[in-house]
């Protein structure tokens, strides 16, 4: 039924799950980034562990394989002293025909405190959160680790953390998001956050085949501008957010070849020179060098791709400790 309560908030408007950045207020996003800051220094300590989630069980529920993402959540949970159980469901239950919600019920019965969910279908974590709510188990928290093309909220948050770290004020920035926006959950999370944080100009750069039909209207009220020419998209930008181009996009009729894509949309030093001299270059990884990004840029002084990874752990620690470590005041 329409008008249902945003399932990631409780009746007091507090975060109980992290499913999407859609619907989070500017204050809430800044609050999460503020909480992440102290966690960045834990990695530099002799004991890289704090006891905020001691005794809690975090289930990494990966219905779609992603060693990299799973590892970042695992590190974050372990640094919070949680017990982490990794499950690659695509190779176990689902193959035996067990339904998604049956799997969830089974794991919930093992006293899970948190599900970190990766799923190939947009909205799957919502289904799980709604099911937990409908069965009176709202004390189990759901963190979306990427669902279909829909959302990858912790990636979006770590990107915002990175931008804030280097650029401070979002309300003066021009941001270009370049690449396969149509299929990208990362892009959707970034766009929601950038719009909420008050970025006055967001450019969506890519060929028509990799942009949603209604790209300029995909987020109500957001200052989105579609650019098919990468030079238009990069000119004067403060932040360049590259997206990964999946190999499978080459198999259909979306693009002719990686070479032609690089020729038209690859981020080269010459193109980057169109952006502001102090522009930063971001990429969610893993990178396809020579397809969406030139090695000279990926390894260049403007790239902040490795700091993104470091900040990612802190942001995930902040999110997990907020949800399962107590209230959200």
């Amino acid at each position: 039924m329409m008008g249902a309560l945003n399932p990631q908030l409780n009746e007091h408007g507090e975060l109980i799950h992290l499913l999407s950045l859609d619907g989070l207020s500017r204050e809430m996003i800044h609050d999460i980034l503020d909480r992440a800051a102290p966690f960045t220094e834990i990695a530099e300590r002799e004991v890289k562990k704090v006891p905020l989630l001691r005794g809690k069980s975090v289930f990494n529920l990966f219905f779609e394989n992603s060693t990299r993402t799973r590892t970042t959540f695992e590190i974050a949970a372990k640094r919070l002293s949680a017990d982490v159980i990794n499950l690659n469901i695509n190779t176990s239950s689902a193959a035996k025909g067990e339904s998604l919600l049956d799997t969830v019920d089974n794991l919930a019965a093992m006293q899970a405190d948190m599900f970190v969910v990766r799923h190939a279908s947009s909205g799957a974590p919502y289904l799980i959160a709604q099911h937990l709510a409908a069965t009176g188990r709202n004390h189990i928290h759901v963190v979306n680790a990427g669902d279909g093309r829909h959302s990858h909220p912790t990636q979006g948050l770590l990107d915002m953390y990175t931008i804030r770290h280097y650029k401070q004020d979002f309300t003066r920035l021009t941001v270009a998001v370049v690449g396969d926006i149509l299929h990208s959950r990362v892009a959707r999370s970034q766009l929601h956050a950038l719009a909420t944080l008050g970025v006055p100009e967001i450019r969506l750069v890519g060929p028509k085949t990799l942009l949603p039909t209604a790209a300029d209207r995909m987020i109500a009220g957001a200052p989105l501008r579609v650019c098919h020419d990468i030079a238009d998209g990069l000119r004067g930008a403060d932040v360049v957010m590259m997206l990964r181009l999946q190999n499978e996009r080459m198999q259909g009729a979306l693009l002719p070849s990686p070479q032609e894509y690089f020729k038209s949309y690859g981020l080269t030093p010459e193109r980057l020179a169109l952006a502001k001299p102090d522009a930063i270059v971001m990429h969610p990884g893993p990178m396809n060098r020579g397809v969406e990004i030139d090695s000279a840029v990926a390894d260049g002084r403007q790239a902040v791709i490795l700091p993104q990874v470091t900040f990612g752990i802190a942001v995930r620690m902040a999110v997990m400790s907020m949800l399962a470590g107590g209230g959200t005041q």
Binding site: G3, N6, L100, S122, A214
Partner: protein, 432 residues
């Protein structure tokens, strides 16, 4: 048995009759309708009286799209459960699409279905025969045989014929015998992998889109083939403003083509997907708010002939899945009447004109003298309280399918009695 339904407001959209009156039923047929002025038919002594005070008495509803799930999908619904739902919804006659398992492509299956449905209190069932064997879009079915077995028209349910030459041949063959062809307009390739209207909502939620051109490209093909072959085309489950515009243009050009819209597409749009509500996963997809408004206006001005429930019971297991993986469809037999009334109220359409879209108009498409109160026709009647409000809930729905995006919504229009062939098929007070 002689029955008098008295004290109600009798509306017969076909004749324009609309006044406080009694309806007289004898031997399963309408004997007549009349107010105080006309008086009781000579010698009529009712053996049963139905009091319709505060109610509207109208022809039983005719639903041109209702899946009964038999044969093959009895775990989703059975003839028994869905016939109860039909009667409770005031639906006395329905067309079931051929997407059963196996599909309705053999006379034996059609005869079996007709036979199973021929029970007192069950709505009249008109099977829609498969246009191609197994709905596979390759070989023609034995249409003449199927028609003899009871198929009223031929179609493909929601499966498109990809090979346009086969489609041409199928329409030529159907036209040879004067069989109508009922098709949903959706280009299989343009709709491939799509799960939601290709618009801002799908873009935001990251759902693969089905563009409006999937409907218009297929529709343009159908309209040209209909003109070429002379086949009588009925367009099922229209979803877009652009599709409606094509039909209007074809009509203006002299082509006899009819079309229908579902209660879901009449009242809802892609925004009703909300947070991935699988109940809003429909085929065709719910389109934009502007499309919905155009469909509502089209139904009011006659651009769209008929309103259907597009009843599709789905079991919970197939709906409690991520949006894209959930099965399409919504249960609807019990919502057809209240959602007709809601549309009439929202659009300012007079009650009689609104009821025509679910009684006399579908009868016209079927080519049957039904859906009216003319003396001599079978006494298929619906008596409902237009002010009776209820909340759509799993518990209230008699259909085995509890799947509808209207769950939780309050609607007006409570069926009190349903008569089929003069037999009391449903009574809200449980006396049936």
């Amino acid at each position: 048995m002689k029955i008098e339904i008295r004290n109600g407001r009798v509306i017969d959209p076909a004749s324009g009759f609309d006044q406080p009156a009694s309806v007289y039923v004898a031997d399963g047929r309408i004997l007549g309708s009349g107010g105080a002025a006309q008086g009781v038919p000579a010698g009529f002594q009712p053996e049963a009286v139905i009091d319709a005070t505060g109610c509207i008495v109208c022809p039983g509803l005719i639903d041109l799209s209702a899946r009964l799930r038999e044969p093959g999908f009895e775990y989703k619904a059975t003839l028994e459960s869905e016939m109860k739902a039909a009667a409770a919804g005031g639906v006395t006659r329905l067309v079931c699409p051929p997407d059963t398992d196996p599909p309705l492509d053999e006379p034996g299956l059609v005869e079996m279905l007709k036979h199973r449905a021929r029970q007192p209190g069950f709505a009249h069932v008109h099977p829609l025969g498969a246009l191609t064997v197994g709905l596979a879009g390759q070989r023609l079915t034995e249409m003449a045989e199927l028609a003899e077995a009871g198929c009223i028209a031929f179609g493909q349910a929601s499966v498109s014929i990809v090979d346009t030459q086969v489609l041409l041949r199928a329409m030529q063959y159907a036209a040879t015998f004067g069989f109508p062809v009922w098709l949903q307009a959706q280009d299989a390739h343009l709709a491939r992998n799509g799960v939601a209207h290709d618009g801002a909502v799908a873009a935001r939620l990251g759902l693969a889109g089905i563009p409006v051109v999937a409907e218009t490209v297929a529709l343009a093909t159908y309209l040209q083939l209909a003109r070429e072959t002379g086949a009588r085309l009925h367009v099922r489950r229209l979803s877009s403003a652009a599709g409606l515009a094509l039909i209007r243009a074809a009509r203006a050009d002299g082509l006899a083509v009819s079309c229908e819209v579902s209660i879901n597409h009449l009242h809802l749009c892609d925004e009703n997907i909300g947070f991935f509500d699988a109940h809003a996963r429909l085929d065709p997809p719910l389109r934009s708010a502007a499309d919905r408004a155009a469909l509502a206006a089209g139904l009011a001005d006659g651009g769209i002939d008929v309103l259907v429930s597009d009843h599709t019971p789905v079991d919970d297991d197939e709906k409690q899945l991520p949006f894209a993986e959930a099965e399409t469809g919504a249960t609807g037999l019990e919502l057809l009447l209240p959602l007709t009334l809601k549309w009439a109220a929202d659009s300012g359409v007079p009650l009689a004109a609104a009821l025509a879209r679910v009684t006399s108009e579908p009868a016209r498409i079927l080519g049957l003298e039904r859906g009216c109160l003319k003396p001599g026709v079978p006494a298929d009647l619906c008596v409902f309280d237009p002010a009776g409000r209820f909340t759509v809930s799993r518990e209230r729905l008699r259909s085995q399918g509890k799947n509808t995006p209207f769950l939780g919504r309050e609607l007006a229009g409570e069926v009190r009695y349903t008569l089929i062939d003069g037999h009391l098929a449903y009574a809200a007070d449980g006396l049936a």
